[in-house]
């Protein structure tokens, strides 16, 4: 597999505090990698290291199979980024802000109009950024990161401060990047719901440690489903199911069984009906990704 980003044993210390510990991040070409973690987990620190803004205390970083420290400038020609809060020059217009970046990147002038259109800021191109709303500044930052058609796009919480329609818009945009432009995308967030909708691979970091890194499908499998039965006499029903060798759990007025293959569910229903229970509802109960995420980070804390 061709990895666009590959870190080996990367750690970063600030004084005594370790913000990132032995990070082994792998991002394959064409992926949308969702980089998840609660506040202070080390997402931004990792991203800063990937961009060469900070040097790792130990470990090596490879981007496009090149060592970042030795080939920083070559590599950054192919990387677009947006780190933390958007940076901009408030006294300049949106167009001039992009022009200041374009001059350094050395791309054609018409790219400015193109990216302004992509983020739908063309109407305010000649207004000073000082007066922009947070969402507009965020979109300007995304426009800047797209200027040179990067092969790798690194976005740190890009939907921060956007309203729901703005979030959807950016999400749709990001989704199209790999297929339309062959980009690989790294997008960080502290909200699983956001990553869930676009990511193909997920990395979960907490307290500086990567505790999960796999496809989004694998993450979803962690959502070990339950089937819940709402019946007339739940306690009796629970005892019945247990005595029949099923793994059941009593929850208030419901009974949950963990193995939810069709045969087992049918068996449970038959048992309950035969015992004269009134079966009101039989429902799939999926754990939300939020719950899995919380569970994972909690397990990490406990262990």
């Amino acid at each position: 597999m061709e990895y666009i980003v590959e870190t080996r044993n990367v750690s970063k210390k600030f004084g005594k505090e370790t913000a990132v510990i032995n990070l082994e991040m792998k991002i394959a070409k064409g992926e949308i990698y969702g980089f998840l973690g609660p506040n202070g987990a080390g997402k931004t620190t990792t991203i800063r290291m990937l961009l060469g803004l900070m040097k790792p205390t130990s470990g090596t970083i490879q981007l496009f199979n090149q060592n970042l420290e030795q080939n920083r400038i070559e590599i950054l020609k192919k990387v677009g980024s947006l780190v933390e809060n958007p940076s901009y020059y408030p006294h300049l217009t949106a167009y001039e802000n992009l022009e200041a970046l374009r001059k350094v990147l050395g791309v054609a002038k018409n790219r400015i109009d193109e990216v302004l259109e992509i983020v739908r800021l063309q109407d305010v191109a000649n207004k000073k950024v000082k007066g922009f709303s947070l969402g507009m500044k965020q979109r300007l930052g995304i426009a800047g990161s797209l200027l040179h058609n990067p092969e790798l796009l690194i976005l740190d919480e890009p939907t921060n401060g956007l309203d729901p329609s703005g979030i959807i818009e950016i999400r749709e945009l990001i989704k199209t990047l790999p297929s339309q432009y062959g980009m690989t995308v790294l997008i960080s967030s502290h909200l699983l719901s956001e990553i869930d909708q676009i990511a193909t691979t997920v990395g979960i970091v907490t307290k500086g440690q990567l505790i999960f890194q796999d496809s989004i499908e694998t993450l979803r499998k962690y959502a070990n489903q339950n089937v819940s039965f709402t019946v007339s006499e739940s306690k009796k029903a629970w005892q019945l199911l247990i005595s029949s060798g099923l793994q059941a759990e009593l929850q208030q007025n419901r009974v949950l069984i963990q193995d939810c293959s069709d045969g087992i569910v049918a068996e449970a229903v038959r048992l309950l009906v035969q015992a004269g229970q009134a079966v009101y509802r039989v429902e799939d109960e999926k754990k939300s990704l939020e719950e899995i995420f919380l569970q994972m980070t909690k397990e990490e804390n406990a262990g």
Partner: protein, 236 residues
């Protein structure tokens, strides 16, 4: 690459008052003499047989102060452009070397100061003509009084740029600027090795060129030290 960075930097200093300050500095220095000679021209012309020389001396008495103040303000403006929204992270994540970023900032500032010096020369000469100080215009002296102080103040420029780009707290460069201003004001009483004395072009040997050579030499040294420090730091 450095040319691209420079044009980008010149774009960024738009509407920030850089050009206005560049004009105001030399204009102010000569304007003080407009007031001075406007109020008591006859008295001043009696003070010396060398009217041009005396006039240049008067102009020069304020040049170092204007320079040191200008450097402090311009460097802190320069740093504020990137500090305001922490645009350093955006700038350094571009495919540029940090050395060239630092060099472009320094070059822009040096260009502005140089432009100020040109204006100082023009204003000094023009007002001298208005005053009708005699036909023997000391062209060489006018050039020297306009450019030597700038060259002698390069270490101050390098130091202030270094301090203002690496300080988390902008109070530090401002303090350095104010101290520098006071030291420049007291130049007469300072030993020769103090860099804030150099723009006054005074020294024990009475040799202005010595200050210029020292200024360029130590300026380069402080520039390199500041640049190395800048490149080694993590970006905020």
């Amino acid at each position: 690459m450095i040319a691209n960075l420079l044009t980008s930097e010149f774009l960024k200093i738009r509407r920030k008052g850089f050009w206005l300050l560049t004009f105001l500095g030399p204009f102010g220095v000569v304007a003080l003499q407009m007031v001075n000679y406007g109020v008591r021209k006859d008295y001043l012309l009696q003070q010396s047989n060398d009217d041009w020389g005396y006039y240049l001396g008067n102009v020069h008495s304020f040049t170092p102060l204007a320079l040191v103040l200008g450097i402090a303000i311009l460097t802190s403006f320069m740093a504020s452009i990137e500090n305001e929204t922490n645009a350093w992270k955006q700038l350094i994540a571009l495919p540029v070397s940090k050395m060239n970023v630092y060099l472009s900032k320094f070059t822009v500032l040096a260009c502005l100061m140089l432009f100020s010096s040109v204006l100082l020369m023009v204003f000094t000469f023009a007002f001298g003509l208005v005053l009708d100080l005699g036909s023997a215009v000391p062209y060489m002296d006018i050039v020297q009084y306009s450019f030597f102080p700038f060259l002698a103040s390069l270490p101050i420029l390098a130091l202030q740029l270094w301090v203002s780009t690496v300080s988390q707290n902008q109070g530090i460069p401002i303090t350095v600027g104010i101290l520098g201003f006071i030291l420049t004001y007291s130049a007469f009483f300072l030993p020769d090795w103090v860099i804030w004395k150099w723009p006054s072009l005074m020294n024990d040997a009475n040799e202005p060129v010595q200050n210029v050579l020292l200024g360029v030499g130590v300026g380069c040294l402080l520039y390199v030290v500041g640049m190395i420090d800048f490149t080694r730091r993590d970006v905020k």
